[in-house]
Structure formats: C-alpha cells, structure tokens
Symmetry: C2
Subunit: 180 residues, 2 copies
DNA sequence: GTCTATAACGCGATAGAC
DNA sequence: GTCTATCGCGTTATAGAC
C-alpha cells in the first residue's frame, strides 16, 4: 500500500544521512535505511537506482558549496585578510558535518578490533595535556595542531619528510600557542 | 606445494599493507592479497585466522608507538617547549603513514562516484590560493589551517558551533600566517 | 508507488585432499 | 603449506504482482 506521507524521496535522504553519519557509508545497508522508514529495500530502489546515487545526492550540496567557496577563494590575493575565508570554510564544514562524520565512521571500519577507538582516545588525552585544559575552546588548539600534523602525512606522502616536517611543526606550534 | 620463500607470513603483511594503503581496508579483499602473492585465499587463512587478525597485526606497532608517545606527553607541563613533542608526533605519523593512508582510502569508499576526489582536488586549489604558492613547504601551512578547521567539526560535533569556530579560526589563522 | 520474491554476486570463512 | 570446493551470509539489483 502507498504510504501516507508524500515525499518519500526526501524522507529516504534524511534517514540515510542520519544513519550514514552514525555508522558510516559502508556499514549502512539499504535494508537498514528502508527498515527505519518502514518500507522495503526494493521500495527504496524505486526512488534511487543505486546506493551510489543516494550517496551522490547527499554529497551534491557539499560539492556545490565547495565550488562556490572555491570561486570566492580564487579572488583572494596574498596580503588580503584570510580570516573571512577561514570563517566561511568553517561554516561550510559545519553545515555538512553529518557527511564528514560519515566519512570518519567509514575510516573506522577496520577498527572493529577497537584499535581506532584506542587511537582516538589516546589522541584526546594528549590533546588535553598539550593545552593543559579540557575546555573545548582550548582543546581546539591541540586538535588543529596535532590534526594538522597528521593530515600532512596523508596529503604529502611522497614529499621529503624533512621539508614537510619543518613547515608542519612550525604551523602546528603557532596554532597551539596563544600568547606571544 | 610449499613456496620457496620461507617467511610467507611477513610477505603477506607487506603485500596487505601496500594494498590497504592503496585501496583502503574495506575494499581490499583477502582474495586480492592472496593473488598478489600467487597463493589462494585459503592458504592465507593458514597464516592468519581472520582479516581482523591481519589488520590487528599491522596496526599493533602504531598503537604501541602511540602508547610510548602518550607516556612521554604525560610528563609535559604547561610552560614547557611543545616543539619536541610535536616533532615526535610528526615522526610517529610519518612512520605509520601507510596505515593512515589506508584509513583515508576507507573514508573515500562512498566516493566511487568520484565526489571525494573532486572535494580533495578543490581543497588543494584553495590551499594554493591561500598561501599564494604551490611549494610544498607553503602548502603545508594551508593544509594545517584548513585541515585543522575540518577536523574540528568531526571532533566536536556537539559543542556549540560559535565556541569551536572562534578558537578554530584563530588557530588556523596563526598556523597559516608566517610573518608577524 | 509500493510490495513480495528472488536472482546474482562477492565476501569471509571452513573442510578436507594432497 | 597450499590446494579445490563449498558454505552461509549480506549485499546490490531486478521482475512482476497489486
């Protein structure tokens, strides 16, 4: 029988986004999404031709926002104040944080052995030590510093480590330290 | 028939680590790892009782290094120079960069639609604009700044956005700007 | 527009021969 | 120590009834 609510497609998007953020894209099956809505897997296929298409539709607004942001960034010249750009980028990430959460959930797939949980837990403890505080506003500095270092090894895996290390540690230091 | 090389177990570890770094943990099947070595999936099971055990063995050295690092970090007091700690953390990440690469590959599972590739590409362009250079040593500053911002929305998804934003943008600004 | 039923596939994992 | 063969499962995806 037809369901009462008209916009099943939008309902599917919403339910999927929530489950993806909680469990990641990989470990969320179409069956789970369908069950959450009280419809069947096959019914879902009526609305979306594949899991990829569903994901694609969820990611599209992020890509669009990024394109807009990129155009704005292209007008930036050395010497301009970068703060507004950084603020916009933060807002963008925050607006799409459900998707980013889904991505990191996926990254933790291997960690059914709890290794990743352990790793994250240890990082958090180190974060607190580095800033001597557990206030979010302080922890953020350590997150940017250590997270930034960590990002560099995956973004520049083939560059000579010494070059990256010097620049990265310098940037991390500045991010970490408030007073000067 | 037995293979000529004695240390099959180590060979499996090496092949697995390489494939995991290239394609992620999720999308690398035991069959692929076995084929790369010219053995069968079943033979692999003689050496490792499960995929989890194989991954676990690869991740163990990272966890060990993190534990050592954490102990050292615990001796750090506010006011000490954080640089040595940051350098050690970078070295640690760099030493285990194959594993980190595997984790981000997993995160890109959803992106068979190439959305993630698009996203990363756009980020790289913005990075270059922000520092007005394509030199790795400069790009690193943008990576730490924008990567740090991005990390914050997944690390603190439930904190009030304004609190996180102010601290994060501040840290990103300091990471980005060299001269002061 | 939604359902039931099922096909087709790849995965991790196991059994047993050699 | 490695093989062939196969199981059981969850998955994406399709066909056809209502």
């Amino acid at each position: 029988m037809p369901r009462l609510n008209a916009d099943t497609r939008a309902e599917i998007r919403a339910a999927a986004l929530e489950l993806f953020a909680q469990r990641g894209f990989v470990r969320t099956s179409l069956r789970e999404i369908a069950e959450q809505l009280g419809i069947t897997k096959a019914a879902l296929y009526y609305h979306f031709s594949s899991k990829g298409e569903l994901i694609s539709e969820l990611v599209a607004p992020l890509v669009e926002d990024l394109e807009t942001f990129q155009k704005r960034a292209a007008e930036y010249s050395a010497g301009d104040d970068p703060r507004p750009l950084l603020e916009t980028y933060f807002d963008l990430c925050h607006r799409h944080r459900m998707l980013f959460l889904g991505l990191v959930q996926d990254a933790g797939v291997a960690a059914e052995l709890e290794a990743l949980t352990t790793i994250i837990h240890k990082r958090t403890e180190v974060d607190a030590v580095l800033v001597g505080s557990t206030e979010p506003a302080d922890l953020v500095r350590a997150t940017v510093a250590l997270g930034g270092l960590q990002d560099c090894v995956v973004i520049f895996p083939d560059e000579p480590a010494e070059v990256i290390k010097e620049a990265a540690v310098g940037a991390a230091l500045r991010a970490l330290i408030l007073d000067r």
